[in-house]
Every structure is written in structure tokens, then in C-alpha cells.
């Protein structure tokens, strides 16, 4: 059984807000002393931390990046709010907004230069930032107060109401924090389940495929980090208003580690994980104080134990268990393909005034050091033509594809697409110009569903911006529904509709190829590059693939095909270019190429029967 995320969010929000809103008045209804003002402050602290962790979850669970400097970002927001309130007389709202924007800017400055390189690079930068930040706070005494910190921060006001966690003020600060926590929780959902969330996860799973679909990896990761930093800045400003005192001690490296532990223990990438993780880690720390000097040991042991039993975190592992329970065993059905439906007319539209050549390569050359992989290749493909590129393994075919799709920069020569010079653009720019591709070794977003993979392909064609998407404006909802419909139509087209909700990485190899074609078509390309689409297909499936390629060509799509199956090349192509050792050795219609002795020697290694007979006759 599975619970839809929307329902989970709604239920959590409804029940959570109701319980938390009631909490300050608990003793009025049930009697007793709970919650004391001390206990209420603890709940407030946990809520504020949860906001940081929700932000961190966007980064870790979404973009697959790690930050070990979130305590410093949290501290940055807190200090911006404190300094503005103390020194510039800013009220609650303006100082909060300034804290969020300021922290977002710092996030952008940290992330933009460091997310090019994947892996631990960003993590190290964030550690460095955290160390520098704390050191500045401690030593710049005249500005930050050093160890004695900034004290005497005035209480803020909202709509004339003084903000304090006390009963006299109607627990006003408590409700403001609760409001922001609920807001952060909802934004986390609208972000993660939007095209931006999908694009972020896509960049975490395959940089190449994301770029090929026009999703800029650098921009998407920077966005994730900036949003994540904004949450930390918001939480920092709320902390300032609660504590009315800030100094460096709250924002040290160990706190950054704790935030990361909360994220991972709760379940990175899940919606409820940050809340569960924050509560569990915070109270475990408190309860384990009973172990006195063995407290850290007990905490570490507990952590290791939980993650050993629940490797996806508490919420992640629970969800996986829930999904596996009671699920009915079923067979999947591969439908007949290609299957054209009217919805596809919106996705695959013919070009209005096609130029004479869709793709033109002139003197295209690629050198790796001393090795010339591609040597002065000329090639021209008409709109709606199927152009095959063949040659032995290592002839330079994939290098040509990689240059046209912007993954390699040509050493010499030019690439023109629909009459426009596009030489040496990067892969995301080539995707924007209308080039879509599949990969020889398939590059799917393995942990995403089959349908989500196709939806990532639509990323560049959305019109709703980030704000509209986050607030789920009608336009954004409408667009999301339309994209889902069109993505389903594309899955129908390649016969994979029945697989829509499956993990893409679990598909049989040949089906992964089909899914890559559907995903590439989502870009609404003008030129489709297919790198060995028939590898791993049976004869019957290859015939289906040939029909699919012909349908696309009839719709005006230009196709450049790298393939080894000779029968297929002969059946599907209008024109064949043969490469050997990076050089074009023959070019012409398939009927001519088939009998060219140079081609036969290079490609088959022996004279084909037809050619031998003809030679004998001459």
C-alpha cells in the first residue's frame, strides 16, 4: 500500500498544526503543569531547528549535495536579524526578510563556484565557510561582541502585537514560528514535487542526461543551495527573536553535523523525514545526558544502530516497508509500439518553414592530445531525413554525436543547426537549440519513476516560474497536469505506459532504450541523435523501432542514427555516412553503401557475397 504524498502532507499539516497550536493551552484543558514556559521554549527551539533541517533536506535529498556549514548559514541569518534590530532599529518583518535574502546571497556566493565539481567539493567549501564564520564572530569583538555576543535585542512586533513566547502575549512568538514551520513544510512539498524538484533529483542521478535535456546542472544545484540557505536564514532570524541574544557558540561545526544527522536519520528526500529526524536527534541528545560522560558514545551507538536497521532513515525505511507490504504481485505488459495518439500532435510538431539543411557539419575535427578521433567530417542532413552514421567500433561515431550534442567541444570545424551556427555550445544550450539525444550505455535517472524520467524532459518547456510553481498558482498546476498527460502519451508511443510508476533503473535494458527515446522527444527536438538504439533489441523489436523512426521522420524530425544492425540501417535510412578511423570513407544512399567494397572491408572484415560475385563478373 502506498500513501500519496499530497495526502501525507495534508494529514501531517492538519494534525501537526492542530496539536502544536493546542499545546500552549494543554494545562488549561488537562490540568497539571505541562507545558511550563521552559518546556515551551524547548518546543520552539525544535521547531526552529526543523526549519533548518527542512532546508537541508532539499539540498541533500533533492540535489544530492552535502553541506557541513548549515549552522553557519543559520548563524548568519540570526546575526543579520540581530544586528539590524539592535543597530538599525529594524522591526521583526524587515529584519526577517533581510536575514532570508542575505543568507540566500551568501548561499549563492558559496554554491555557484563550487557545484561544478560533484562529490565532496561543496561539502569542503561549506566546512571552510563555517570555520571562517565562527572565527570572525569570535574575534571581531567591536562588531559582534565576541564571546559576550549581542545582547539586549529588542522584542519584535507583528501587527502591533509584541512577540514573545509568554502567556501574557498570547504565545505570539510561538504561533509565528509555528506558521513559518508549516510554511516551510508546505514549500518543501511544492518544491520537491515540482519540475524543479524533479530536475534537482535528475542532476543528482545523471549529470549527462540532465544536461542533454537542457537542465543546467550548475544552475539547478545553485538553486537548491540558495533555497536551502534561505530556510536556514529564516530559522536564524526566528532564533534571534526567541533568544534575544546571539553569539558564535550556537553556530559551531558540531551543530552543522547535527543538522546533517537529523536530515539523514529522518530520511533524506522524504517529506516527513526532517521533522522526525529533528525530534529524534534533539530528544535523544537530551535523554542520553543520563549517561553522563558516556553520552557521546551512547549517541553514536544509537545513531549507528538506527541507520543499520533503517538505511534509508526512519521515514524512508518506513515508507519502503509500507510500499512492499500487501502489494499485489503482477506482471507488466509491454504494449504494441509505436502507438500514435492525438495527444502527441502537441508534443511532436512539424517545422513550419524548414530550411534546406537541418544539420550541417563542415570539417568537424576532434583531437584528444595527439589522437585524432574525428578528422574533417562533412555531413548534411535534410529536415525529416533519417541519416545513419556507421563504422566499426572506435571509428569516431560517438565522438561526432557528442560534439553535436555539446558534450565535446570540436577542435576545428563548424556545426550548423537549422541554418544557425551552434559550434561549441554546451550541452544544455544545444538542448535548448533543439538537439535531443539518447546514450549508448543509457543514462536514465535510475531511482526516479519511468514517468518522472519523461517529465524531466519537459523541464525547459514549462512557462510557470519558480514562485508560481512554489505557490501552486493555477497556471503552474494546469501546466503540470498537461505535462503529465503528454508524458503519458509519449510512454504510450513507445509501449511503456504499463511501466509508468516503476523505477526506471529496474527496466529491462531494451526498454531503457525506448524510455530514453520518449524522454528525448519530450524536449520537442528538431534533431534527434540516437546512439545505438537497437542494441539489445530482438528482431521484432527492431522492426517496431524502424516504424517509430519513420513516423518521427514523417513528422519532420531529423534523425541522426548510429547503429550496427545492418538490416535496420538499410530499412530505415535515407542516407548513410561511413566513418573509419575518424574519416568519412563513404557517403550516399543505403543501396550504394551496401555494395561499397571499402565499407564491406572496414565494417564486415570480409567481402559480402554480393560484392564478391560482382567482382568476379567484372
Amino acid at each position: 500500500m502506498t500513501v500519496s504524498p499530497r495526502l501525507a502532507v495534508g494529514l501531517t499539516l492538519g494534525i501537526g498544526v492542530a496539536v502544536l497550536a493546542f499545546l500552549p493551552y494543554w494545562s488549561d484543558v488537562f490540568g497539571g503543569r505541562f507545558p511550563t514556559s521552559f518546556e515551551l521554549r524547548i518546543v520552539l527551539r525544535v521547531m526552529i531547528m526543523a526549519i533548518v533541517v527542512i532546508g537541508l533536506n532539499v539540498l541533500v535529498g533533492g540535489a544530492g549535495l552535502v553541506s557541513l556549514g548549515h549552522a553557519a548559514l543559520y548563524g548568519f541569518g540570526a546575526h543579520v536579524a540581530a544586528l539590524l534590530a539592535l543597530r538599525a532599529g529594524f522591526g521583526f518583518a524587515p529584519s526577517l526578510v533581510a536575514a532570508v535574502l542575505g543568507t540566500a546571497l551568501v548561499g549563492a556566493a558559496l554554491a555557484y563556484p563550487s557545484v561544478r565539481v560533484r562529490g565532496v567539493y561543496l561539502a569542503v567549501i561549506t566546512i571552510a565557510f563555517g570555520l571562517v564564520f565562527v572565527n570572525v564572530l569570535r574575534e571581531w569583538v567591536s562588531f559582534t561582541g565576541g564571546a559576550s555576543g549581542l545582547a539586549g535585542i529588542p522584542r519584535g512586533e507583528v501587527f502591533g502585537q509584541r512577540l514573545s513566547p509568554g502567556r501574557r502575549d498570547g504565545f505570539s512568538l510561538y504561533y509565528v514560528v509555528l506558521f513559518f514551520l508549516a510554511l516551510a513544510f508546505v514549500l518543501q512539498y511544492t518544491l520537491m514535487y515540482s519540475r524543479f524538484g524533479r530536475a534537482m533529483r535528475a542532476t543528482a542521478m545523471s549529470e549527462n542526461a540532465a544536461q542533454a535535456l537542457g537542465v543546467s546542472v550548475i544552475r539547478m544545484r545553485t538553486l537548491a543551495f540558495v533555497l536551502s540557505a534561505s530556510f536556514a536564514g529564516l530559522a536564524g532570524a526566528l532564533f534571534t527573536n526567541l533568544a534575544l541574544f546571539v553569539n558564535y557558540e550556537t553556530f559551531q561545526f558540531t551543530q552543522s553535523i547535527q543538522f546533517l544527522l537529523m536530515t539523514i536519520l529522518g530520511g533524506a528526500g522524504t517529506l516527513l523525514g526532517p521533522l522526525v529526524g529533528t525530534i529524534v536527534v534533539f530528544f535523544a541528545t537530551v535523554l542520553l545526558q543520563a549517561f553522563e560522560e558516556w553520552q557521546t558514545f551512547a549517541f553514536g551507538a544509537l545513531l549507528a544502530l538506527v541507520l543499520f536497521v533503517m538505511p534509508k532513515g526512519i521515514v524512508g525505511s518506513f515508507e519502503a516497508w509500507l510500499a512492499s507490504r500487501g502489494a499485489k504481485q503482477r506482471m507488466r505488459e509491454t504494449a504494441e509500439w509505436p502507438h500514435w495518439t492525438p495527444e502527441l500532435n502537441a508534443v511532436i510538431q512539424p517545422l513550419e518553414n524548414p530550411p534546406a539543411a537541418a544539420l550541417e557539419l563542415r570539417g568537424l575535427t576532434l583531437r584528444f592530445g595527439g589522437l585524432v578521433a574525428v578528422n574533417k567530417v562533412d555531413l548534411a542532413a535534410k529536415p525529416g531525413a533519417v541519416h545513419a552514421l556507421i563504422g566499426p567500433n572506435g571509428a569516431g561515431k560517438s565522438s561526432v554525436i557528442n560534439m553535436i550534442s555539446g558534450f565535446y567541444t570540436p577542435s576545428e570545424g563548424s556545426i550548423r543547426l537549422l541554418g544557425q551556427d551552434v559550434t561549441a555550445r554546451d550541452s544544455a544550450a544545444m538542448a535548448a537549440a533543439g538537439v535531443a539525444r539518447t546514450f549508448q550505455n543509457t543514462e536514465l535517472f535510475g531511482a526516479m519513476t519511468v514517468l518522472e524520467n519523461v517529465m524531466v524532459g519537459f523541464h525547459t518547456r514549462y512557462e510557470a516560474n519558480l514562485i508560481q510553481t512554489l505557490i501552486r498558482a493555477p497556471r503552474a498546476r494546469w501546466e503540470e497536469a498537461r505535462v503529465r498527460r503528454e508524458a503519458e502519451a509519449l510512454l504510450d508511443f513507445v509501449g511503456l505506459r504499463d511501466y509508468a510508476d516503476e523505477r526506471a533503473g529496474a527496466l529491462p535494458f531494451g526498454h531503457q532504450r525506448r524510455l530514453e527515446i520518449a524522454r528525448a522527444l519530450a524536449l520537442q527536438p528538431r534533431l534527434l541523435l540516437l546512439d545505438e538504439p537497437a542494441a539489445g533489441l530482438t528482431h521484432g523489436e527492431i522492426e517496431d523501432l524502424v516504424r517509430l523512426i519513420r513516423v518521427l521522420a514523417e513528422k519532420g524530425l531529423t534523425i541522426l542514427l548510429v547503429e550496427h544492425h545492418v538490416d535496420m540501417i538499410m530499412a530505415v535510412s535515407d542516407h548513410v555516412t561511413v566513418l573509419d578511423y575518424g574519416v568519412v570513407i563513404a557517403s550516399g544512399p543505403p543501396s550504394e553503401i551496401q555494395d561499397d567494397p571499402r565499407v564491406i572491408e572496414a565494417y564486415f572484415g570480409h567481402a559480402a557475397p554480393g560484392a564478391a560475385a560482382r567482382k568476379a563478373a567484372e
Binding site: M331, T334, P392, N393, P508, G536, G540, Y603
Partner: protein
């Protein structure tokens, strides 16, 4: 068959709620060369993964070399004498060709078995192109050479049964004309081989017996030479014009 090297009965494989293999019987006799063909999604690769111990089967029994091995892990299967040449080759690209070969005999290298070197030598005789590239990173090999390396690596463990998943994937005809005869040769020298192959024409030409799988089941099976003339096979796997 009296004493098959591999005997699979009622094999079931599932991924969570998805059934990929729904009860399959496959047998490979000693010294036999057996093929499995079928469309994508038929369950061929899933069945091979269960047989080689990469996946735990959801049901059924696997007997190998006279012993029940149903839930054995892949490294145990290698030690028992089953070598797998996986789909997509899965060579270690950042290690040299020689290191890849040594990893094929990992358990024996650990025991300092002196004969590993002899076996590497024999594998190199089979694939002279690998000898020229012994010190090269495996990732820099061409697709055909990588497939040769994957087969050579499988042979170093001195298997009683070689399981090959998708020999032809992404390879030019010239390379295939080289590789398939090598498998036939190995079989002629007594090695039992189970070959999963999309390019049915090649598989039917080199194997003695073939199973045709669809939708997680074996549709039919028989001597490869007979199946190559069978209308059902012609239609779906060899093309109508043959």
C-alpha cells in the same frame, strides 16, 4: 538428461510487486551449449541473475553440478564453478586489463594458486588483442575488446559453466564474427555455456538447444537447428523475410 550441470525448475523472480520470471524450467547438460532468446521484458536477464546468485529467487529450485544452490550468493557460485559474463560487460574501467584478469581469479589469487598465471596465458592465447593491451586501462578499450576482456575474465575462474548475457550488445558485425566462433570453440573443448542473446540469428547458429522466453515463461524450446526453421521463431526473432 541424466546428470546436467545446471537444472532450474519452477524459477520465480520478482522485484517488489513486479513479477519478472513466473516459473521457468531450464536445463544445461554437461558440455552443452544452450541459448535463451526472447524479447525485452521476457525475463531472460532476471533469470540469469537468479541463476548466478546476484538476485535471490522468489521461488523454485536451482541445482548446479549435482548440488542444490538455490539461495547461494554470486561469489559462492563463482567458487562452485559458475562464471557470469554480465550484460553491459561490467569491466573495471579504471584498472588495467591484467588487473581485470587477476580479479577474475580473485579467490585463487588469494590462495596464491600458481596456475592462475597459466590460465591468464591461455585466455590471452584466445584473445591476442588483449595481450597487446595488458597494461592499458580497461576503460580505454573499444567495445569489442571490453567484451573479450569480460569473457577472458570469466574463464580465469575455471568455470564448469559460463553464463553469457548479451554477447552482441553494441558490437559491430566484424567483432561478432570473431566472438561467436570463440564461444563455439570453448564449447567444443568441453565448456558448458548458457547464452542469453537478443540477436537470435547468431544464437541459433552457435547453440545446440534454445529456449524461447516471453512474459516471464518459457514458451517453447528445442534443438536450435529446428527452431531456426520454426515459424513462431521466424516471425518474432528472425524477421519475416527469412
Amino acid at each position: 538428461m541424466s546428470d546436467p550441470i545446471l537444472s532450474v525448475s519452477g524459477l520465480k523472480v520478482s522485484y517488489g510487486p513486479i513479477t519478472a520470471v513466473a516459473g521457468v524450467d531450464i536445463e544445461v547438460g554437461r558440455g552443452e551449449f544452450v541459448g535463451v532468446i526472447g524479447s525485452n521484458g521476457a525475463g531472460k536477464s532476471s533469470a540469469m541473475r537468479a541463476i548466478s546468485g546476484v538476485l535471490a529467487p522468489a521461488g523454485g529450485a536451482i541445482r548446479f553440478d549435482g548440488a542444490d544452490v538455490t539461495r547461494r550468493k554470486s561469489h559462492e557460485m563463482v567458487a562452485l564453478g559458475l562464471a557470469m559474463v554480465p550484460e553491459g560487460r561490467m569491466i573495471f574501467g579504471d584498472q588495467t586489463v591484467r588487473e581485470n584478469l587477476l580479479l577474475g581469479g580473485f579467490s585463487r589469487v588469494m590462495r596464491s594458486d600458481p596456475e592462475v598465471e597459466d590460465d591468464i596465458e591461455r585466455a590471452l592465447e584466445l584473445f591476442p588483442r588483449l595481450r597487446e593491451r595488458l597494461g592499458q586501462m580497461a576503460g580505454s578499450l573499444s567495445g569489442g575488446e571490453q567484451q573479450m576482456l569480460a569473457i577472458a575474465r570469466g574463464l580465469i575462474s575455471r568455470p564448469k559453466l559460463l553464463v553469457v548475457d548479451e554477447l552482441s550488445l553494441g558490437l559491430a558485425p566484424k567483432i561478432l564474427d570473431l566472438l561467436f566462433p570463440i564461444l563455439a570453440d570453448l564449447n567444443a573443448k568441453g565448456l558448458s555455456i548458457l547464452l542469453v542473446e537478443q540477436m537470435a540469428s547468431y544464437a541459433l547458429a552457435v547453440t545446440q538447444r534454445t529456449y524461447v522466453m516471453e512474459n516471464g515463461r518459457v514458451l517453447f524450446s528445442g534443438p536450435s537447428a529446428e527452431l531456426a526453421e520454426d515459424d513462431r521463431v521466424l516471425d518474432a526473432y528472425l524477421g519475416r523475410k527469412h
